[in-house]
Symmetry: C2
Subunit: 231 residues, 2 copies
């Protein structure tokens, strides 16, 4: 039987690249997208475009966190703007969503169990990132162990592997990797704001722009949006 | 500041008892109920009755697992009937929901973080239970560690404690404990089937009946339902 994976796919640059890594590595790949009340709902449409293009299974789970507690969920909390990117950031900004990746990974493990999948892929990165605790290696290792202890397949001796292929790459390295795998970056969405165009000043836009600059590649999403606007 | 907790409350006997333990232990207590597509949705109404009666905060998160994979979610899979209860069961029946308690605990940790809560309570039991891996002590310990690694408050040095006060009690001991705390057992729902009356033959009904019998207490839910029927 071909090995199988579930990829957490937001429709952003990192998760889409990790989707292509899963396919490159020979996994029969299914995607999982979480519609969790994020203000930048726009990304979900981008996620759907990838899986439709690739013809792979895709589940979307809807839930809302009624307690919010994040500027990604609550429009009354400002999203930080024009922050200088700090490598290995340790300050955690208001865009942190309480326990978000923990929730995502447990849902992915649930889906993975029904598919008898070998791996869950997450596009987490702990270098050019916003300091989120749930993107760090020690958290991911601990979660992998927990998921194996807390699932039927796990306690029956089947190991579910948590794969974070971008974890220690710089944003420029992620972009070069994606480029080499023909990731259609023009249909990825990174901006934390839900507008028609990327804002250019949220952490996610700033990190993306820095990555493309350092990789010496033009961001096709920007020209694609501008083409679209001009068409 | 008074210590705070989030209690996972299904509306069943165990989770309701753990709610009362949290209150006994002096926590300012908030409840969290998950509406996850369970066929025995009925339990949610019971959960609401407790928090309304106690006047405590209560959040309900709705989501559906589109992959199902459990007889609690998929009516085409039969719920096992008339199984003899086995203490310390290791066989996992079809009522197991893939990664359910993992999902529940991460959602509870998310809510707990916004409340600056000290503890999450879960009514898990690993003695008179159905063998679910996500009710076992090693899983719960590992999840506690993972949640602290993956949350802002956790990495900032604040410890979230995972409390499972019923973990090693027999069902009869849980019932005696609840009885001593005046838990209104007449408004708890254990049955895995979603009918008007408890079926009496699913694992949950069988364990409940055995517990009341061993505790030498009459189950008030049965007489309450029967009174209701006769009225």
């Amino acid at each position: 039987m071909k090995k199988r994976s579930v990829v957490l796919l937001s429709g952003g640059l990192d998760s889409t690249t990790s989707l292509y890594v899963s396919l490159r590595d020979g996994y029969e790949t299914a995607a999982l997208t979480l519609d969790y009340g994020q203000l930048h709902q726009r990304e979900i449409g981008f996620a759907k475009m990838h899986t439709a293009q690739l013809g792979i299974a895709h589940k979307i789970v809807n839930f809302e966190l009624p307690w919010k507690g994040s500027s990604l969920l609550d429009s009354s909390i400002p999203i930080p703007a024009n922050r200088k990117p700090v490598r290995n950031a340790s300050q955690i900004p208001s865009t942190y969503v309480p326990a978000r990746n923990s929730i995502f990974l447990t849902l992915a493990a649930s889906y993975a169990e029904t598919l008898q999948a070998n791996a869950v892929f997450i596009g987490a990165n702990a270098l050019d990132y916003s300091g989120y605790p749930d993107c760090r290696p020690d958290f991911l290792r601990s979660m992998e162990n927990t998921l194996n202890l807390g699932t039927k397949r796990g306690v029956e001796g089947f190991h579910l592997s948590l794969e974070a292929p971008l974890l220690s790459l710089s944003k420029a390295e992620i972009i070069k990797l994606g480029y080499s795998l023909n990731v259609p970056f023009d249909i990825t969405w990174s901006c934390y704001r839900g507008s028609d165009r990327p804002c250019g000043d949220c952490d996610s836009c700033v990190l993306r722009a820095k990555g493309f600059l350092e990789a010496n590649i033009a961001d096709p999403a920007l020209s694609s949006i501008s083409n679209h606007k001009n068409s």
